[in-house]
């Protein structure tokens, strides 16, 4: 039996051994991601309308306008309003989603009878298309006739106008988004949860710990890598919320649900200002990256790898 040299230190040998594993995704990265991204940086410096043939010779020279798009966006009022709307969504969505998907993961990890049925049922919203989901929720959130306000009135609460009220439209979008996503993130958290060694729980049970104590002391700390993943991904996704807005409110009422990607899409494909849209998304990129970098920095304080 040949004993291999253990290679811990970074170096040429490491790269050599890593390259066959990295190659497929690196090829994909170059062609399907970095190249288009690079082109879109170029587009953000132009007044391209998104219709002229992009490959034409002299295309870039003809349309180049420097940083004008960035200047226009950052000095106009619209960007800041849209950023505020997006921020409202994130502030309401992330904690709500996290609590709900933790709950879902917790419920699904129990070894009760029928847990398999629940696992399928909880995942149904994820499987439902946004078109179908938006349709039913628009009906259910109808101020006059909707099921939600009818239930609220049973408790003597007069429900708001939801999607038709500028103040309540964004919270309504948040509620529906949490409903749609909790099964998805719940499943990811669950896969982090089932991985936890049972002997930990057995030891804790011997010490007389209850379900809640076990959850807080063992489950939660050991699933922090999964939680971290969910936080990073959900924040990136939340900044880019789009289909639910387009189908349920289209940015209304009175612009209350105009958000970043909705604007980017409309500028690029409805108003024929593709250069402006590209600049808009690179500003969005910087914002998301900053937030993610902060999360990355902070992870050392609370995420435990390698139990």
């Amino acid at each position: 039996m040949k004993r291999r040299k253990r290679n811990d230190g970074p170096g040429r040998d490491g790269l050599l051994r890593a390259s066959p594993f990295l190659l497929p995704s690196l090829i994909g990265l170059m062609i399907f991601s970095l190249l288009p991204l690079l082109i879109s940086v170029g587009i953000s410096l132009t007044d391209w309308n998104g219709l002229d043939s992009i490959g034409a010779p002299g295309f870039f020279r003809e349309h180049f306008i420097g940083l004008d798009n960035y200047r226009t966006i950052l000095t106009g009022g619209e960007f800041w309003q849209v950023l505020k709307n997006t921020g409202t969504y994130i502030v309401l969505y992330i904690p709500g989603m996290l609590v709900m998907s933790l709950m879902v993961a917790f419920l699904l990890s129990r070894e009760h009878r029928g847990v398999l049925v629940f696992r399928v049922i909880y995942y149904l919203p994820v499987l439902t298309s946004w078109v179908a989901a938006s349709l039913i929720w628009t009906t259910m959130l109808s101020p006059q006739y909707g099921a939600v306000n009818n239930i609220l009135s049973l408790f003597g609460i007069k429900g708001p106008g939801w999607l038709l009220d500028p103040k309540w439209a964004m919270p309504a979008i948040v509620l529906v988004s949490i409903w749609k996503d909790m099964g998805f993130f719940g499943l990811i958290l669950l896969s982090g949860m089932v991985d936890i060694n049972k002997s930990y729980y057995e030891a804790a049970s011997l010490d007389g710990a209850g379900a809640w104590t076990k959850f807080m002391r063992i489950t939660l700390p050991l699933m922090t890598p999964a939680i971290f993943y969910v936080l990073i991904v959900s924040l990136i996704n939340a900044f880019q919320l789009f289909p639910q807005i387009m189908i349920m409110t289209d940015g209304g009422p009175y612009g209350a649900t105009q958000v970043m990607v909705e604007r980017i899409y409309k500028y690029g494909f409805r108003y024929f200002r593709m250069g402006y849209a590209a600049a808009f998304s690179w500003i969005l990129f910087v914002i998301i990256m900053t937030c993610t970098a902060i999360q990355m920095k902070a992870q050392k304080r609370w995420v435990h790898y390698d139990s």
Binding site: K2, R3, R4, R6, G9, P10, G11, G14, L15, R17, A18, F21, L22, P24, S25, I27, G28, L29, I31, F32, S33, P36, I39, G50, I54, M103, L107, L116, V120, P125, L127, T128, S129, V131, L135, W137, M140, A147, W179, G183, L187, I188, V194, D195, K198, S199, A211, P225, F228, I232, V233, V261, I264, S281, W282, L284, F285, T292, D306, S307
Partner: protein, 275 residues
């Protein structure tokens, strides 16, 4: 003690049931709508049980386009897409977490950063790239992007980080090469995550609409979401058709999801080995 257990069990079922009902309401509404006549769809109050149920919408879905061919296309694309995603991403994640090489960390950050630009703005550039590569109207144009899925790589990186290095070292001492360590040690320990990824990736590819629409102009290559979308008109959305189509297209994903459940059980066992 027994009483307490019973109470907590009751509590479990009550909470579970409440969330289950909330999860299921729209689904039930979809079923009910798919059985309605056009006039009965948007009644107030909501008609949960259709007065004159009809299967007409399902008949229409099966007959207005070549259903088998379309489903075949969708299946082929989704299976290939999911397979490549799982393989390429787990290989990359393994390299990132278990092989130390220079530039490891910055490269992972580049992967992550690519998720932060909305696809709406890279769509036309990517279209142009595909056009230059001569891939338009080929299945490859829809399948090949699965080579690079930062979302999946990142998820697997999080999972593989939790695999103790000792495990891998032990295998290596037994004479396994890097690839064998990857296949025989790292992959089995990621089973629950791979199962989750399989479900979500398959679903994403199966439901993907805009990109296949842009790429596959040939009618015979049409996928299910595109075919279903053309069933409904501009002014007069045919809800029954829409819902029947959505329900039918959910079936394969539900099947895959249920199949993946077994891997969650394996996951628990893999966790058991760890101690």
């Amino acid at each position: 003690m027994i009483l307490k257990k019973k109470l907590s069990s009751t509590g479990y079922y009550v909470v579970s049931a409440v969330i289950a009902v909330i999860s299921m309401i729209p689904f039930l509404w979809m079923i009910s709508t798919s059985l309605k006549t056009q006039g009965a769809v948007m009644t107030i109050p909501i008609q949960w049980i259709p007065e004159e149920p009809t299967l007409q919408a399902y008949v229409d879905v099966f007959t207005t386009f070549s259903f088998a061919r379309t489903v075949g296309n969708s299946l082929f694309i989704a299976v290939a897409y999911t397979g490549i995603t799982l393989l390429s991403s787990s290989m990359a994640a393994f390299a990132f977490t278990k092989i130390h090489f220079r530039g490891n960390d910055p490269l992972l950050k580049v992967y992550l950063a690519t998720m932060m630009i909305p696809t709406q703005v890279t769509m036309i550039p990517l279209f142009v790239v595909m056009n230059r590569l001569g891939l338009i109207n080929s299945y490859s144009s829809v399948i090949m992007p699965s080579l690079f899925r930062p979302f999946a790589v990142f998820m697997l990186v999080q999972q593989m980080r939790t695999i103790p290095q000792d495990f891998l070292d032990a295998a290596r001492i037994d004479g396994a090469n890097t690839f064998q360590v990857f296949r025989n040690v790292a992959l089995p320990m990621c089973k629950p995550t791979l199962a989750t990824l399989m479900v979500t990736t398959f679903m994403e590819s199966w439901n993907d609409y805009l990109w296949p629409l842009l790429m596959l102009t040939d009618r015979s290559k049409m996928t299910l979401p595109i075919a279903l979308a053309t069933l409904t008109g501009q002014y007069n959305p045919q809800y029954a058709l829409l819902m029947a189509g959505s329900l039918i297209s959910m079936i394969p994903i539900i099947i895959i999801y249920i199949l993946a459940q077994r891997s969650f059980q394996y996951g628990m066992m893999a966790g058991g080995i760890k101690g």
